[in-house]
Symmetry: C2
Subunit: 206 residues, 2 copies
């Protein structure tokens, strides 16, 4: 890896472990055993690093969120896979989510872009419901789809933080219960066979 | 107000506005036009202030969360009022919620107590559903109640943060949409007349 990429990877790791606000460029240089001067050759300051990491996150998340509209999710296994990928990406960049209000308050660029990302999440939730309705798997009014999509966006945004605070010990958070919880929001609007599928997931992952 | 109480009130205001991590005891003394020495006469350090504010919050929230088990919530208007009081309390102490992972990581006492508070929120969600089931207003299996109660606890924990990030402009967040969104999680399990009531709320508050 080139130095620039090593800086980004080490920063992401430290941000996730300690929170972005508590990591300085000196910490990052220390972690990589390079001089602060070498770090400043690649990035002007920590905000530059945060913005570049955020740009990478955003690109991946936006590509993911386009999936429900483009490929037409047809059944619950597609939804399961889609949500799993969303949660994997959030987990990889969890520092962004852990202190979202603080981060978006301090950085206007991230604030504007996160705002759009949350709208896109809600839209992806609606697209997903409409795909399942078109496939005959789900039955819900527009109002119900709206409420479910908003709840899905909120749960997807905060589940990993919630699970972190709720856990007795800090450590890796499992993704399958996150996926199950998100799916459970759609459960009452699903056909009987799909509800059965969810019931089996509940036994496995709750 | 006595100086001690004025310090707590000013701290709460500054924490809510700027985030607890970004407020120092000097800021607080400045805001009150008192000397840092006067502040230190009442509190050893900022952590002491944070813990005392948290204790006040916790007392109020725990008393609130006991309501569904003790008084037996009977209809949706009771639920509406109960949730409104929960959101009012969270809004008043929103700094705790805005950067929850950071705060609970830095402070073990808050971490342990918040952990219990979230469990209590989930229990209150379950008590609430069981009250409505007993009153014949709601119909759901234990598994469904479990999923709904967890989602209610998550939405109640994070709605105000979510609404803050989702809004175009920073400012006061409205509580009625938060209540509506939380109620919508129970909607599919309600009797027809109660669903109608929710539908009218949706028109008013969405």
């Amino acid at each position: 890896m080139k130095t620039r990429e090593r800086i980004l990877a080490a920063s992401l790791m430290l941000f996730n472990e300690d929170g972005e606000a508590h990591v300085s460029t000196n910490h990052i240089a220390d972690e990589l055993n390079i001089s602060p001067g070498n770090l400043y050759y690649h990035f002007r300051n920590k905000e530059d690093i945060t913005l570049e990491i955020f740009a990478g996150f955003r690109q991946r998340m936006e590509a993911l969120l386009d999936a429900p509209a483009n490929r037409g999710i047809m059944d619950l296994e597609d939804v399961w896979l889609f949500l799993h990928l969303v949660y994997e990406t959030i987990w990889e960049y969890r520092f962004l989510y852990h202190n979202l209000v603080d981060l978006t308050r301090r950085n206007r660029t991230i604030r504007r872009r996160f705002h759009r990302l949350i709208r896109k999440k809600e839209q992806a939730g609606k697209d997903l419901c409409h795909s399942l309705i078109a496939a005959g798997v789900m039955q819900a009014s527009d109002e119900e789809v709206e409420a479910v999509a908003t709840s899905m966006a909120l749960v997807a945004t905060y589940w990993l933080s919630f699970a972190t605070v709720r856990a007795d010990e800090q450590g890796e958070v499992e993704l399958a219960p996150a996926v199950y919880q998100t799916l459970s929001l759609m459960a009452p609007y699903l056909r009987e066979p799909e509800r059965g599928y969810l019931g089996r997931l509940a036994e496995a992952y709750r």
